[in-house]
Amino acid sequence: MYKIIEKEFFSEKVVKLVLEAADIAKSRKAGHFVIVRVDEKGERIPLTIADSDIERGTITLVIQVVGVTSAKLANLNVGDEILDVVGPLGKATHIENFGTVLAAGGGVGVAPLYPIVKALKEAGNRVITVLAARTKDLIILEDEMRKYSDEVIVMTDDGSYGKKGLVTMGMEEVIEREKVDFSMIIGPAIMMKFGALTTKKYNIPTEVSLNTIMVDGTGMCGACRVSVGGKTQFVCVDGPEFDAHQVDFDEMLMRLNAYKKEETEAYEKYLALQQA
């Protein structure tokens, strides 16, 4: 059992949980994720380790509520326990001093981006971060990002905060202004797809962190498979980060909808039960 010792809402649908998981805290690196099963009847879902504290033996998760499991997690309180947490999974991010790095985070993708930005900064890079969301309330981790970025550009779709426009606009602004040596884009699949197209135009080496559907997270099931450079890869063991310009985003977007119907129904049922 993994006890929750801190909880904070970043916005109505985005929650931060700090939980006890001493072994994972010790061995995790930027880019790693865990698989969580909330309770006996729960499904296993992947979540990036946003931060950790070895001394306290804790890891931090930032969760966006999109369906049953994420809603169950957001409903837990300090002192509650999560049944299963396993990790750290996936390959850690390859960190080096590239020079100037453009980091782009969309929505809850900012959470997994945060430890990477931190590591990139600590490796001596000049880091320019673009944070994007639909509206002001959905911008998360801004202060944390500012601490480890040389510059932060905020973009909102509705212009309620920062600049008005999509993440790609913010990215292009930087690319046209100065030489970018490497780019890291994390967010919803559709945002990563367009972000990747943007950096491809300028031939900037780019990585994305894919958020496919998973079951075990250890390479055992193949649920997480995507095509990268025409070859099938398992996101949980070969990734989650891949060369953005090789990923077949259309296939990935399609596969994310594999259980759309079941998930929507289950979520509606869950919400109805919560209200009852």
Binding site: D23, I24, K26, S27, R37, K41, G42, E43, R44, V68, T69, L83, D84, V85, V86, G87, P88, L89, V215, D216, T218, G219, M220, C221, G222, A223, R225, V226, S227, T232, V237, E251, M254, R255, N257, A258, Y259, E262, E263, A266
Partner: protein
Amino acid sequence: MEDLSYYKEKRSEDWRVELRKTKKAKERTLMERISMLEQDAVERSQNIEEVNLGLTEEMALVEAQRCLDCANPTCITGCPVGINIPGFIKKIEVKDFLGAAEVLKDTNTLPAVCGRVCPQEKQCENSCFYTVQLKKPPVAIGYLERFAADYERNSGKMAIPKVATNNGIKVAIIGSGPAGLAASADLVKFGYDVTVFEALHEIGGVLKYGIPEFRLPNEIVDVEIENLRKMGVKFRTNFIVGKTASFDDLRAQGYQAFFVGSGAGLPRFMNIPGENSIGIFSSNEYLTRVNLMKAADNNYDTPVSFGDTIAVIGGGNTAMDSVRTAKRLGAKRAVIIYRRSIEEMPARVEEVKHAQEEGIEFMNLHNPVEYIADQDGHVKQMRLQKMKLGEPDASGRRRPIPIDGSEFLMDVDAVVVSVGVSPNPLIPSSLKDLETTKWGTIVVNQDTMQSSVKDIFAGGDIVRGGATVILAMGDGRKAAAGIHDYLMEKVKKN
């Protein structure tokens, strides 16, 4: 084969000699092999209860009489772990069912499991005197093994094996499949402080996430795990060695030897066009969703695909388990697509027979070459090619050859790909010094199961690349002996 003198000695005990005289061999051979009680085929294809219901006491007593208690029990040579087969069967004949279970447990940690899932027709029963000499149906060794083990479990008098006093030496077992469980049982008996680390949230490996309830109820595995707990084995779930902690971390925590039984968990795909469409799964994914995550139960959160027509590609146990699962989840057509003929299927004969009875369709000598998806990316058709059999290949089976121009389309709602697994690369990739083969299996000394890293031993599918429960258990036990020798030697030196 090892020395059979141990069996000979047991065979000359007075009660055995007397028992042989109670019925003439001739009479014994005229008796008919007992049939297993089974759930009705139509009924069972709609529930997940176990198909085989076991033997009654009367049936077991009769079947036990068929065994001739041969002077040269060839059956034993067919069992990968050399169970004293007449030894336990004769105990059944004299109604000492607990005694029979005890004989089984001398060599087999999980007889209730092996009695159910061993490919007996290729192993012990294939070497029985009846099969070899009389050309008659063999003694139902598997059924009797299951009977004795079930009797013991249900008697409430399950013997918890004696363990030596804890010697304080820590040993880590990686993976809780049959290999790991068998190794842990022996090591705790020798007195070691044993911890089993398991990546998943459940103990049991393939016995839990792979083999379905209708063939091997989880409860049976759970009872064995509970017994191991009582013997002092510790279990840590959600712990991936090589990720959650490295071998060096564990060494620093005082672990002095390791047994790796991490299995062959990596599913293979065929790399044909359209294979990443929605609705196409590996059998591991399909079975894990249903068995481990209970996806077919509405009260559980994990979803699984249902559909009218489900095709399963392959001919092994995993394919049979998947297709029979699909049928139980309500598929109108559950179809096996296999590129060779039915005789060449690697699955247990009983499973193929059960599948046929349950209305599974068999499309042998067919192979998929492409999947076609609808506009949402969901598979709707598969292009199949007909095959014919050519010359035997290295495995002795006749090679399937595609027939040109034979392709046609078949409508499907979901496809389960069950064309084999590869060794789980997590451990090998986390250890630079570990010697592996080009297939990714760990290289070990055949006698001690020691790997190229002195304190690491390995067995089961991670060494064999995909084998059987009994072979995995045999490896686990051999490794436990190897670890014991290694550690005793080490202690002596210090």
